[in-house]
């Protein structure tokens, strides 16, 4: 893959990179660091990507790993109950924003990947490296929790 093609594909993923990192990291400096590390690693390891049609899921997997590395560091730098709170962006739907962040990360991430990013259950299972059944159960629990929080009907349809 040429660096031009790599850049073009990454730029097309801009909003996805933002939302996936946002779903896991509360601080913008951490999101910048995660995405930067992700892009360097993806570029260095591009030869390991056997089929370019999977580039998006592959890059997202790397990004999630980088986010987890930063979470580990922050957990060690700050007392476990003193991680900084998240500030809702001005252009975000604050009700949905707060509802999503009231979920545990393990429930939030599959919901974000499916409903916002449009990944299938199989793709999410590959990205999160867990069985499809685990993805489905986490999404079900996430939807139920969102339904209660948003006090409405469960309209978050998916393929399961």
């Amino acid at each position: 893959m040429t660096s031009d093609k790599f850049s073009t594909q990454i730029v097309a993923m801009m909003q996805t990179l933002y939302r996936v990192s946002y779903a896991q990291l509360s601080q913008s400096c951490d999101r910048d660091e995660a995405v930067q590390e992700c892009l360097y690693k993806a570029w260095q390891k591009r030869h390991q990507l056997k089929d370019e049609q999977y580039m998006q899921t592959w890059v997202i997997r790397i990004l999630i790993n980088e986010c987890h590395n930063i979470q580990r560091k922050r957990c060690k730098e700050l007392p476990l109950d003193e991680l900084p709170e998240r500030v809702t962006p001005a252009d975000a739907d604050s009700e949905l924003h707060d509802a999503l962040f009231s979920l545990e990360e393990k429930l939030r991430l599959p919901i974000v990947l499916h409903y916002i990013e449009g990944f299938s259950i199989s793709e999410i299972a590959r990205i999160l490296r867990c069985p499809k059944g685990t993805v489905k159960s986490r999404m079900r629990r996430g939807r139920q929790a969102l339904k209660i929080i948003l006090n409405g009907e469960d309209q978050l349809l998916c393929e399961i």
């Binding site: 909003q15 660091e33 580990r72 060690k76 252009d91 949905l96």
Partner: protein, 367 residues
Amino acid sequence: MRDMNDMKNAFGKADDAFVNNVYRTLSDIQLNKDKKPARKIYFSLTAAIIIVCVLSAGTVLALSDTWGILDFLSGRRANVKVLPEASGVVQEEVPQQGNQTDFASFVIREAVHDGQSVYIVLDVKPSSPDYLLLGPDAQPHDHISNLGPVFSRKTGTIAEYAQANHKIMMNTSVGISGANCSIDYLLEEDGTLVYMIDARYGGNSSTPVVELECVALPFIVENGKYTRDMNSKKSTILSATLKNAGTQQKVICTESAVYSDCGVRVDKITLKGSAMSTYTEIEFTVVDANKYAESDGIFFVFLDRYGQPIPNGAGSGGGIETIDNVHFTEKNSLQAMEKLPSEVILRGYSYSDKTKYETHTFKMKQQ
């Protein structure tokens, strides 16, 4: 009632800083596509909080122009303990060459190499009084107070300050070739940008030559926005010969212990001690893939005899290295210790929801 179409608005859109960071990274990849780029670890909120806490001490240090390695550790980070002997391993005269670009000169002020990590404080001096040097992640729209204690009471943005003082903003970056660096920096009153860099850096050489990639380039306005002028980029490789003070002690434990709640087995723990830090390595194996997946990943914390986490040390974290699909090594840095312990207590945590897993005690043997 909400539906799934609303979900796309839950986080808003990527802000300018995020978009610029992606473009900047892609530019770096384009420019350095045939070599490994020097990566930068961004200044974290933790560090920012610490700066506020130590502002008065930092201002005195900055005004007296004495920021050295130990000043950065005590003045810019929390709870970092080094041994008194650390001052004895600070190398103040560092043989170096290749330090000049058209925009700035790069000179190492102090260095420490303790066999596991390097710590370097480096002066970046502008080649013209008209240049305002900024660190790698500083943006013109950032607050001027971010530049360091000397600027802590100033208001407005960096761009506004530059305009008012007729300065040209220069982006700079410094990284150790092939190493993942942690970077801190501050701007001194005379316009010198002082970097503190640390990175894991092993090897047995008593006088290793460390290469630093030093870059400077101006900000320009393009389509109404500040951007880095990559066409004007000037870089140099600064080669420095360090003295390897080496680690003083090493203890290991090869008796394994299973953390069944999270599906892993710790196989080996190694501690290496120097005057700067205690470096830890935990080698572990995933023995139950389902439980490990349920945990969403784990990290380990060393506890003292009272069950309190042992504070972090001076070195960069290092993070988790993947050996293969089931074998991992977690590297970290704890505060320096006079004598390495004969036993350690290790607790597993989930890093997604901070769930506590089991705690095991390991007997350590001298090596």
